[in-house]
Symmetry: C2
Subunit: 306 residues, 2 copies
């Protein structure tokens, strides 16, 4: 099944307590399809970069089965850059600098061959651009997933609520679920968000794992406790890529399969944080992913003896 | 198997976003044995209260199978009081007032019949008092569990490290595990803490669940997402009581059984937060506990199909 990702591509400059990286490749438009490429090979991307973006990196994406017809390269423009610094707890981070560059005038135009895609993953960006993508589709995908953040709740809540009506899966963190719904209890927040459109709510809690809600069904996926957490940047997008990539490859939207997808997403995210940028994702193989899935089974498996 | 709990008993005054309670019964010395009483009936307690402590509450503890010979009642003294206010996120809290009262001169004297106890749970208190309890034992218990907090790491680290040498299970939160070990990664923190004495480390993460470490074994127990979280006070102690109560009743210290104990602890904690003080624990029955264990199984159960 085809999977279209619409998301930003960036040069990230990152400072963590364990090191720093300068102008490394990042953004949802890279992490999501790359993570998904370990599950399915019918991948498409809509994004924008400047003339400063390395052709090698685009070639690499193509080598992973990612169709880049929808990737706009603005030769006389510069790629979006983000500079952030993590606090010692590695969960909070401070944005030191953002240069929108080519992103400022980004119009996510879908090539003709993208308009009947089966699965759609909308990375975090202006809700009106996410809506613009949906408006170009010729038929409704089997599944639309959307990632967003508190910034859009603060500045564009109406547009966000409009696009949410078309969305099947919403991925946000716990604070954002509370902000969007106005409810403290995540159980109540999920019920409230279901009414806005999304049938499924994935609450990403970083090192504390993720929760999947669908009506009265709840599933909890832990994050794997790791000896080395090097850089959390991109973990949420990598999670989303593993999640929707697994769904697109299995074509099964039952809650049981959604649970597996959440665990695959968590497994992919656990690799992402081990190195800067996409370094760990680039060197990954299927055996390592299976091995990590076994780790997840062991991590939560118990016999209640009831 | 006999289980001795040494812990403070308090009058708590609590403010949460959902309500307030004035001078309600609280403290590790109440929550721990009460939670454990749902698993085992050979319970003993060492603690101290003032003449203002309601005899009815002591009678209730006795009715739950708790031997109160070791409970010192200082007739002309006042019970320890704590006044705290939770922030809107319900995880951070501010202490508004503390009156040590009879706790200031507390000497945890063990009655003769307590000195050969099988299981020992040392609630959070001055490490030197925890050591004083261990010093009075005639034989080593099958298991010693200890709860502590950042305050003792800040003010009495040497005494804490001394008592830890005698401890099998340490229960602390994630920030405290990092502070005690000086390691950011909880995997590394656990390895470091094992070397201090405790063979098992339970990292309590409140609404994010709990982690159990034993050498290379790791187990994750989620917290149940609840529609109503009324008051988190006592949840950590209730967890500890369910955990060690289950172990004392099963007499099985395998990692597999420790996992079940962590889930039972989590189940008991999930009840605790539904009402102020011990109100929910008082009205609980075994069927409700079993039902909640089923909820935990459903919450994390998945078929990886590997």
């Amino acid at each position: 099944m085809s999977l279209l990702t619409v998301g930003t591509i960036a040069f990230d400059s990152i400072e963590t307590p364990f090191g720093r990286a300068e102008r490394v490749v990042g953004g949802a438009g890279v992490y999501i399809p790359l993570a998904a490429s370990y599950f399915t090979d019918d991948l498409k991307i809509v994004s924008v970069v400047g003339g400063d973006f390395p052709p090698d990196e685009i070639d690499y994406m193509v080598s992973r089965g990612i169709d880049t017809e929808g990737l706009q390269v603005i030769e006389d423009g510069k790629t979006f850059t983000w500079h952030g610094k993590y606090k010692p707890n590695m969960t909070e981070r401070e944005t030191l600098d953002t240069q929108l560059n080519v992103l400022a005038s980004f119009d996510p135009v879908l090539p003709e061959s993208y308009k009947e895609v089966d699965y759609l993953m909308l990375g975090n960006m202006t809700p009106s651009l996410q809506m613009r993508v949906i408006d170009q589709l010729k038929k409704r995908p089997k599944l639309i997933a959307l990632d967003t953040m508190n910034f859009w709740m603060d500045t564009a809540m109406d547009e966000l609520k409009k696009v949410l009506q078309y969305v099947d899966v919403l991925t946000i963190n716990d604070d954002e679920a509370r902000q969007l719904s106005g409810k403290f209890s995540l159980v109540k927040a999920a019920a409230s968000i279901h009414k806005m459109g999304p049938k499924y709510l994935v609450v990403k809690k970083g090192e504390h794992g993720a929760l999947l809600f669908q009506n009265s069904n709840v599933f909890f996926a832990p994050a794997l406790p790791l000896a080395e957490v090097f850089d959390p940047t991109g973990a949420g997008d990598t999670f989303a890529g593993g999640f929707i990539g697994y769904l697109a490859s299995t074509e099964d939207l039952s809650f049981e399969n959604m649970k597996r997808a959440v665990i695959y997403g968590s497994a992919m995210a656990s690799f992402c944080v081990e190195k800067f940028s996409i370094a760990r994702l680039k060197e990954l193989n299927d055996d390592e992913i299976t091995e990590r899935m076994v780790n997840f089974v062991q991590l939560v498996n118990f016999d209640a003896k009831l």
